[in-house]
Symmetry: C2
Subunit: 153 residues, 2 copies
DNA sequence: TACATATTAATTGTGCACAATTAAAACTTG
DNA sequence: CAAGTTTTAATTGTGCACAATTAATATGTA
């Protein structure tokens, strides 16, 4: 437990300046390390982690606009457009303009993307095993992160 | 609370496939959103978040090899080398080979980097205010993330 | 209807992030 | 000491991530 009552000074002894006393660094590092733990499983399917997230949404909804994908994933079109174009090239999904609103681009699940659902569906379990984390701890951490996420929006 | 005893099926109703029931997505999204919350504060100093992390370490140690920086930040030379070269150009730090081991590159804090310590030292407090999070919740989340981090290494 | 405003993707440019490879230097061991 | 192994950064190539800008379309309003 860190001393939060300590005086805040610019010198090196300020505990708030230590990486692991902050919230952001453990968050940043854990996110990268956990994504890296997905890597060997995703690689078998030729997927990156953000591409896997797009497929998770398409398996649930089968059609979504870029805007809707961005709202779910908290990513903007500058990230999604090139990513979705790469996925289109692999024929995992299709991109077409909405007939009623030419500004919107509708992303649709294609058979090759549907075909990844079976193998990919085992990934969450495999990661839970890999984490070897008590369920209570997993659920508590996840809930706190979702809570933080709502605070940050 | 999610039903962890549910049968694991590849269909869309599998709760493990929903983004917010997983650990990785909230982690990934919260990390990006929190880094984004740093952005306006860091921008005043011309820093990016990973560059700020490098400075936090240099304010504490004043000299570190690339390897040591990488160990603290969990980043490899492919990420650090170009980042450190950009910081060298700004004269925040220096890069030189270790005399006794020519393979190692020693990163040293320069006066311009030292000068950022004063203003940057207020950033953690400002973010705590911005988060408006109960201290217990902050500490609990931070500790769980540090714990997860040790699990992942 | 015309005009201003808002919405939506795409584009552009910069900066990570990381896997894989390369190359140099240091160490180990026969 | 020489040959092989290990360590350390750098390099290369791909893929995000996001700020800022652009352009097309849609909407609201006088």
């Amino acid at each position: 437990m860190t001393d939060f009552a300590a005086p805040l000074s610019p010198d090196a002894s300020n505990p708030l300046l230590r990486l692991n006393n902050q919230l952001c660094f453990p968050l940043y590092a854990a996110s990268r390390m956990l994504t890296k733990a997905y890597q060997p499983l995703l690689q078998e399917l030729g997927l990156t982690y953000p591409q896997y997230l797009v497929l998770l949404l398409l398996w649930e909804h089968s059609e979504l606009t870029v805007k809707e994908l961005g709202e779910h994933l908290l990513l903007d079109s500058g990230t999604l457009t090139p990513l979705l174009k790469r996925m289109e090239q692999r024929q995992w999904l299709s991109r077409r303009r909405a007939p009623h609103d030419e500004r919107s681009v509708i992303i649709g699940l294609q058979p090759a993307g549907e075909a990844l659902r079976g193998p990919a569906c085992r990934i969450p379990e495999q990661l839970l095993t890999r984490l070897d984390m008590p369920t209570e701890e997993f659920v508590a951490l996840r809930n706190q992160l979702n809570h933080l996420l709502t605070r940050l929006q």
